[in-house]
Structure formats: structure tokens, C-alpha cells
């Protein structure tokens, strides 16, 4: 035991119970405090991860423990046209939405960083798409994209932009665009509010000094705001990339992967195969196929955070 602990006990009249003396040791206290977390994360993250790997190299179905089949499941999915489409879709979905979320989010953050009346209220309302359960708000979008009763078609028609109806979710390309719009809608508030927090840490004096020296607004943004905001931007982007890459809810509600399996992502296809048709092993393999990309993003994130912290 540490010396401080000993001197502590001598200060008190009666020696404390054994339990307390044990907790005076930093290592024991840390152990006791960390046990619940380690047990829960071990049971429901580490263990399922191992199970997932084991599952993906067998031929299990629901209620039927399978035999070891090696990499047959992976071989099968890589030769599966729908899987290849979902890989392509996932990258497209992640790439396009991230660019738009970053652009629009940064723009909105800059707008919110000004002083205007009702600022607090505007900020509170802007976060709503992020707060409200995604599945529920996605239903509102699905209703807005409804082939027969679409309010968007009504709007476009009355603005004179279209003459016939647009079947938003019935056409593979339009369905993908619709899904991308909903994801951007849901993600912009997260980017905007996080980047706003970053913007607020930048001292306005820097911008003022540059303005006095004759820097144009665009130059000020590019040479002052953007470099100072980069650390926050990177972290927010990496978070968002992981979430988007592994997204499930929006596609599940909007199209269910359709029309004709054209809009599946990794997660929705894994669900369809693993839970829908009960091919547990194949589903687990599809889910795990996300892992290399997620792993890479996490590594980049860890290295980046470490570099920023060292600085």
C-alpha cells in the first residue's frame, strides 16, 4: 500500500473496515470501478465479435449449428451480384453524403456563428433532425416521396419544373438519390453544431487583424478559419463516415433495399440474408466484410487524435 494510505489510516480514530483499506489502493479502486464496464463490453462486444468470426466460417442457419466451411461464405458473397452492388452503393452513399454534409454543415455553422436575433432558438430547432428517432422521421420522408401522393411532385409540378409524376422510390437511381438526400438531411445538423463549437473557439481577433491587413473574406476563410477548424472537422468527418458506412435505418425504411435489390447497403443486405432468410453465417460474413474499412477509418482517427494531442 502507498504511504499516503498508511498515514491516512493513522489519522482516524478507528481503523476503517478492510473493504475501505483495499479501495485506498489506486489499482484496486480502478479495478473495482472498471469491472462493470469491462464485463458488459466484453460480453456484448468482444464476445459477439469472436462469435461473428466463428459464425462466418461455418454454414449455420437459424436453429441449425453448421459445419466448418472455411472461407466459402466469403467466396460466395464476393461472387454475388447483389453484394457487389451493395458494396458499390455503400461507398457511393458514404462518399456523396459526406461531401454534402461537410459542405452544407460548414456553411450552416458559419451562418450560425453570426450574431442575430433568435440565434439560440434557431440552433435548437436545427438539431431536430438529429434528435428525432431516425426511423420515424424517415417515414415522413417516405411519405413525401410517395409515388401517388408525393408533396414534392406537387411542388415541382406547380413550380413548372415537371409535367408528369416522378416515381422517386421506384427507379433505382432516383431511389439512391432519395436515400442520399435523407441522409444529408439527417447529418447536416450534427456537422453544423459540432463545427459551430469549433468555430467558437477561434478568436475573432485573428479575423479582424487579417481584415485590417486587407484580406478578403474568402482569403480569411481559407488561411485562418479552415486551418484552425481542421482538427474538429477531421474528427467529425471520421465519426460520420463510420456511421454512414454502417447505416441501416434510412435504407430499411425508404426502400428496404429495393427496387430489385438495387439500393442495398452492407447492413441492409446482411439483415436480409442473415435475419430475413435465416442464413446466419452468410449474413455474419456480409456484416464482417465492413470490418476492414471501419478498421482503417478507426486507425486513421486514432493516429490523428494522437497527433493533435501531442501538438
Amino acid at each position: 500500500m502507498a504511504i499516503s494510505a498508511v498515514s491516512d489510516t493513522t489519522l482516524r480514530e478507528a481503523p476503517p473496515p478492510r473493504r475501505h483499506r483495499l479501495l485506498e489502493d489506486e489499482r484496486w479502486l480502478a479495478f473495482v470501478l472498471l469491472v462493470p464496464t469491462i464485463v458488459l463490453l466484453g460480453m456484448f462486444i468482444a464476445y459477439p465479435f469472436m462469435r461473428g468470426i466463428l459464425l462466418s466460417v461455418t454454414s449455420s442457419r437459424v436453429g441449425m449449428p453448421g459445419d466448418f466451411v472455411g472461407l466459402a461464405n466469403f467466396y460466395k458473397i464476393f461472387n454475388d451480384g447483389i453484394f457487389r452492388t451493395s458494396v458499390y452503393n455503400t461507398f457511393l452513399y458514404t462518399g456523396v453524403t459526406t461531401v454534402f454534409k461537410l459542405g452544407l454543415g460548414l456553411w450552416l455553422a458559419m451562418l450560425l456563428n453570426r450574431n442575430f436575433r433568435g440565434k439560440a432558438l434557431a440552433r435548437a430547432f436545427i438539431l431536430l433532425p438529429f434528435i428525432i428517432p431516425t426511423v420515424l422521421s424517415t417515414f415522413a420522408w417516405k411519405w413525401m416521396f410517395d409515388p401517388t401522393f408525393s408533396v414534392l411532385n406537387w411542388l415541382l409540378y406547380h413550380l413548372g419544373l415537371i409535367t408528369g409524376r416522378i416515381n422517386w422510390l421506384g427507379d433505382p437511381d432516383l431511389a439512391m438519390i432519395s436515400i442520399i438526400i435523407v441522409n444529408i438531411w439527417r447529418g447536416v445538423p450534427f456537422f453544423a453544431i459540432s463545427l459551430l463549437a469549433g468555430l467558437q473557439t477561434i478568436s475573432p481577433e485573428l479575423n479582424e487583424a487579417a481584415a485590417i491587413d486587407g484580406a478578403k473574406p474568402w482569403q480569411r476563410f481559407w488561411h485562418i478559419t479552415w486551418p484552425l477548424l481542421l482538427p474538429v472537422t477531421m474528427v467529425v468527418m471520421l465519426f460520420s463516415v463510420i456511421q454512414t458506412f454502417a447505416d441501416f435505418q434510412i435504407v430499411y425504411v425508404m426502400t428496404g433495399g429495393g427496387p430489385a435489390n438495387a439500393t442495398h447497403l452492407f447492413a441492409t443486405y446482411a439483415y436480409q440474408i442473415g435475419i430475413g432468410t435465416g442464413l446466419l453465417s452468410e449474413g455474419a460474413a456480409i456484416s464482417l466484410a465492413m470490418f476492414p474499412v471501419l478498421f482503417l477509418v478507426v486507425i486513421v482517427q486514432l493516429l490523428y487524435i494522437r497527433r493533435v494531442e501531442v501538438r
Binding site: S4, L29, L33, P36, L127, V135, V151, A197, G274, V297
Partner: protein
């Protein structure tokens, strides 16, 4: 010059801001208006004449009534609340304890444990749901609220820990040392000195955890099967759609009512929520 400035302000500020608000809030308006609209008005093709989709003169409560009388919506609300509160409570206890240990105590492997917990923060639910479904079945937890109460902390604890570490690091070491000199044990100093100072952090983590578990979908979808056990997001998805027929009125009413509890919780703690959100990113 002044005229020019005003013109600029409209183009560069008011118009974009208004467009952003319109884009971000219109779906909620659409949800509200649909949920009070009679079916006769709801199902009019978009190109029929004299049709105003943005307003109704005959608001109805039929859809809400349908939800509570013909579906198990009330049970779903109760299930979601119970599960969200229980998993938030578990995650807060674990997160506060772990955050304290990782930020203020010296012990072997502290650094690598911190990194490991951070990595689990980044594990998406969709990576593990299939093996987890099997494990839940093996533990005989399937179709019970406990399947969710025990699994939600896996994505709540890591960020609670992450947020709490930030708050604990900001509490000066001297505060704790003073208490220790006065005879408090480590345990007492933590419980009565450090944790009370970090209460804003606990509120932020708690409100954020509550909204996350209220919104969770894929675990609830996979682990629960009987209608009376479902949460709001899953119940609305699976019970208000019959084959290809969508009951849009009740669906939107359900979406609206299912959103209100989180919206209320959020509106009371906006500042804490924003602190939690930005804290969860920056740490």
C-alpha cells in the same frame, strides 16, 4: 453603401438561413399536418385540382385514436421509456466509474484500456447484430426488454466514459487532495467531492444516452418479436404497415407522438445536449 450592405445581408444570410430551416424542418411540419388530416384529404393524388397539401380545414384526431385503440402504441411508448431509462442509468453508473478511473487514477494498462473503450465507441451496431442475436437467444433474453437494456450500454458506456473523462480532467487535483488531508478515503473523495463537481457532465451524458437509446432501431428490430414487447420505432415500422398498405395517418401520428418525449427531454436540456454532442466528438 448602406443599401448595399442590407442587400448583401439578405443574399448571404437571411435567404440561406431560411432555406436551411425550411429544408431541415419541413419533414416535421409534414408529419404534423398529415397526422391531423382526414383520410379523404390524405389520399388525393398530387395533381388533382384545387388541392392544397399544406393545410387542412378539417383537423381530425382519428389517427391518434386509432393508434391508442387499435394498436399497442401505449405499450410501445411504455417499453421504450422503460428501456431507455434503465439502459441510461446502467450506462451512467458504468461510465462515471470508468471515466473517473481512467482520468484520475494511475494503474497499469490505463492507456490501452482507454483506447480499447474508445474503439468500442466506434463499433457500429450493424457490425455485430447477427452474432448478438444468437447470443441473446442462448442467454434466453430474446423478446424481453432485458435484451435491449443489457446491450444498449455497449454503445452508451463508451461515450459516457469519454464525456466524463473530459469533465473529470477539468476538476482540480487539489480539491480531492484537500478532502484526503481532512481524512476522507479515496472512495469518499470521489463520491462526495469529485462526482458532484462533474454533475453537468453527468446530465449531458445522460440526456445524450437517453435520446440515443430511444432512437435505437436495429437491435430492437432483431431481438424483439411479439407486438406487445416492441419499442416505438419498431412497432410503428412493423405494425402499421400491412403488406403493401401503409396507414399513413396513424403512421405519421405515431412518428409524431414517438418523437415528442425525446423532443421534450431535449428542449429542457438543449445546452447540456449540445455540450454532450460536442464533448462526444472532441473528448
Amino acid at each position: 453603401m448602406i443599401e448595399g450592405a442590407r442587400w448583401r445581408k439578405w443574399v448571404f444570410f437571411y435567404v440561406p438561413m431560411a432555406l436551411f430551416l425550411l429544408f431541415l424542418l419541413f419533414p416535421f411540419y409534414w408529419m404534423v399536418i398529415t397526422s391531423v388530416r382526414p383520410d379523404g384529404e390524405l389520399y388525393r393524388p398530387w395533381n388533382s385540382i384545387n388541392y392544397n397539401p399544406f393545410w387542412t380545414w378539417k383537423p381530425t384526431a382519428d389517427h391518434v385514436r386509432y393508434l391508442f385503440e387499435e394498436t399497442l402504441f401505449a405499450s410501445w411508448l411504455w417499453n421504450t421509456t422503460f428501456i431507455a431509462l434503465a439502459s441510461t442509468a446502467i450506462s451512467l453508473v458504468c461510465g462515471v466509474a470508468a471515466g473517473y478511473a481512467l482520468s484520475r487514477l494511475n494503474f497499469p494498462f490505463a492507456g490501452s484500456l482507454g483506447t480499447a473503450i474508445f474503439i468500442t465507441y466506434l463499433v457500429p451496431q450493424t457490425l455485430l447484430f447477427i452474432p448478438l442475436a444468437e447470443i441473446i437467444r442462448n442467454y434466453r433474453l430474446g423478446d424481453t426488454p432485458w435484451s435491449l437494456i443489457l446491450t444498449y450500454p455497449t454503445f452508451l458506456i463508451p461515450f459516457c466514459t469519454w464525456i466524463m473523462m473530459g469533465y473529470f480532467k477539468a476538476v482540480p487535483k487539489e480539491l480531492e487532495e484537500c478532502a484526503r488531508i481532512d481524512g476522507a478515503s479515496r472512495w469518499q473523495a470521489m463520491l462526495y467531492i469529485v462526482i458532484p463537481v462533474a454533475i453537468p457532465g453527468i446530465l449531458s451524458a445522460g440526456i445524450f444516452a437517453f435520446t440515443l437509446s430511444w432512437n435505437e432501431f436495429i437491435y430492437a428490430l432483431v431481438f424483439l418479436s411479439s407486438p406487445e414487447q416492441k419499442t416505438v420505432p419498431v412497432g410503428v415500422t412493423s405494425e402499421l404497415i400491412r403488406g403493401d398498405v401503409f396507414y399513413w395517418g396513424p403512421l405519421m401520428a405515431g412518428a409524431l407522438l414517438g418523437s415528442i418525449p425525446v423532443a421534450i427531454a431535449y428542449s429542457f436540456f438543449v445546452e447540456h445536449y449540445v455540450a454532450g454532442l460536442t464533448g462526444s466528438v472532441k473528448g
